[in-house]
Amino acid sequence: MPERNKTSVLRFENVTVAFDGEVALHDVSFEAFEGDSRVILGAAGSGKTVLLKVAMGLTKPESGKVFVFGKDISRMSEKQLFDIRGKIGMLFQESALFDSLNIEENVAYPLLNQPSIQCPRAEVLPRVKEALEFVELAGTLEKFPSELSGGMRRRAAIARAVVTEPPLQMYDSPTAGLDPITAHTIMALLIKERDVSQATTLVVTHRYQDGNLIANFRYNSKQGALEPAQSGEKEKLRTTFMVLKEGRPVFEGDQDSLEASTDSYISKFVKQRI
């Protein structure tokens, strides 16, 4: 692989995480560079969510180091972490919108509370509206999360994750529990966000189709839809696949070598496509 000389955004060094002696992540190492897309595949309980939480400093690794934008966060205090978290947008698995706040307040939350984000009061509402328009949810400002469908909640949570325009974006199982059509809409949104913001993107999923979309499609802003990337652009999308099995990384590489793999656990994911 040619050296790209790019800035490192996220680096795991031999990260191990355990809960009460049960290993949830075992010796995970990888590095993601600026503008990269990374798809992390794995069955339920394979440690995908834990991996993202470690990357945000929400869960502390038992051993190993985590570097975010070049800084080791594994020994940082909660206070120091707030600066780093301001640069990361995260979509939680079940959306994790605040039940007691309406959609407008939810999306405004990071703008008003993230210590490293200095957003003038007057700009909050326009930015909230812009983010909600981006996810095609304009007009739900006054609604509460409980009044929205699962897909709409997911979209509102995406708006909340990207309203601060973070250079690193992480999506935890964005399509889990959604019907195929809604799932496709959500994936189209993620790809649109990635291509508009040029952010480093981590997508955790158990569906190979999601990874395939990330790797091979781009957002056409003129038509407002996804289109297959030309072969020249495909190089630019630079998607790395990673497969987790019971907390251990069992594969890392590009899509072609993933599809060529003969490992039964790995090929199970790839076969889903057909």
């Binding site: 939480k53 945000m56 929400l58 909660e78 707030f82 978290r85 301001g86 990361i88 995260m90 939680f92 698995q93 079940e94 994790a96 919108l97 605040f98 039940d99 939350y109 990071p110 509370n113 993230q114 210590p115 490293s116 984000i117 909340r160």
Partner: protein, 264 residues
């Protein structure tokens, strides 16, 4: 023999490990919650909101229990006092038992049942739906945003509620005195007032202040350590009420002991 003793000891230590760890976690949370009182950012809106749910929301139930406990005390005491021909001093006993014990403890019980559980289930659902994680991810300290406002609101509102319960209880006692005991109102009320000294008032306000701290912190602690989905939320809620209630009685005994020894 030695080996078996060693085995017993490790078994005992293993049994103790979990409660000791839990106690440690609880005290860490307590420390952080108090620390945050003096730290920015302050979430004033959340404090007001909590005062409303805890204080105003508990008012009807506190008034009811206050009234009936005062009334029942008046009936019980008048019967006991009748043996000594001292029915006229019913007001004294009603007022002392209410201000020192029944007011603080019964009010705290009611609020524990209502709000320790409420806090535990609210924070517990937030925990299992990753809202607590989201809060941290979006730049707020959950202890600062959730625990400290509940601590302040409960510690402030519980003494107020207790004072109300005390007065309503005295009123309940008067209704009994008037209807069943044929005591003149003036005699009842003057014995009520004359019974109380500053020491009783201090005790009667200090207890609910500390009970308020217990109720809120136990609720928050149980909520924040919830695991295991909606089932876990149910468990935390029950645990919160049980622990808050037990701790209220234990601490009540401690405070009473301090005041009784101090007064002697």
């Amino acid at each position: 023999m030695v080996a078996s003793e060693g085995g017993d000891l490790t078994y005992l230590l293993d049994l103790l490990k979990e409660p000791v760890l839990a106690a440690q976690e609880f005290f860490v949370l307590t420390g952080r919650a108090f620390n945050n009182i003096f730290r920015r950012p302050h979430y004033g809106d959340d404090i007001i909101l909590q005062m409303d749910t805890i204080g105003v929301g508990s008012l009807p139930i506190v008034v009811m229990t206050g009234f009936f406990s005062g009334a029942v005390m008046a009936l019980q005491m008048s019967r006991a006092l009748a043996d000594y021909g001292q029915v006229g001093r019913t007001g004294t006993l009603v007022s002392l038992t209410l201000v020192r014990e029944l007011g603080p403890v019964l009010t705290a019980m009611m609020v524990a049942g209502r709000n320790s559980s409420g806090i535990a289930s609210e924070l517990g659902s937030m925990k299992v739906t990753e809202q607590i994680d989201a809060m941290r991810a979006l730049g707020t300290d959950p202890v600062q945003k959730l625990v400290t406002p509940r601590l302040l609101a409960t510690a402030f509102m519980l003494p107020l509620l207790t004072v109300i319960a005390d007065f309503v209880g005295m009123f309940g006692g008067w209704v009994i005195a008037e209807v069943f005991l044929n005591l003149p109102a003036r005699q009842y009320w003057s014995s009520v007032w004359r019974a109380l000294v500053w020491d009783d008032v201090t005790q009667g306000l200090m207890k609910p202040l500390i009970f308020g701290v217990i109720i809120s912190l136990v609720g928050c602690y149980q909520g924040l350590r919830t695991t295991g989905g909606t089932q876990g939320v149910g468990r935390s809620t029950t645990q919160a009420v049980v622990w808050a209630t037990v701790l209220i009685f234990v601490v009540d005994l401690l405070i009473t002991k301090i005041f009784v020894s101090g007064g002697a």
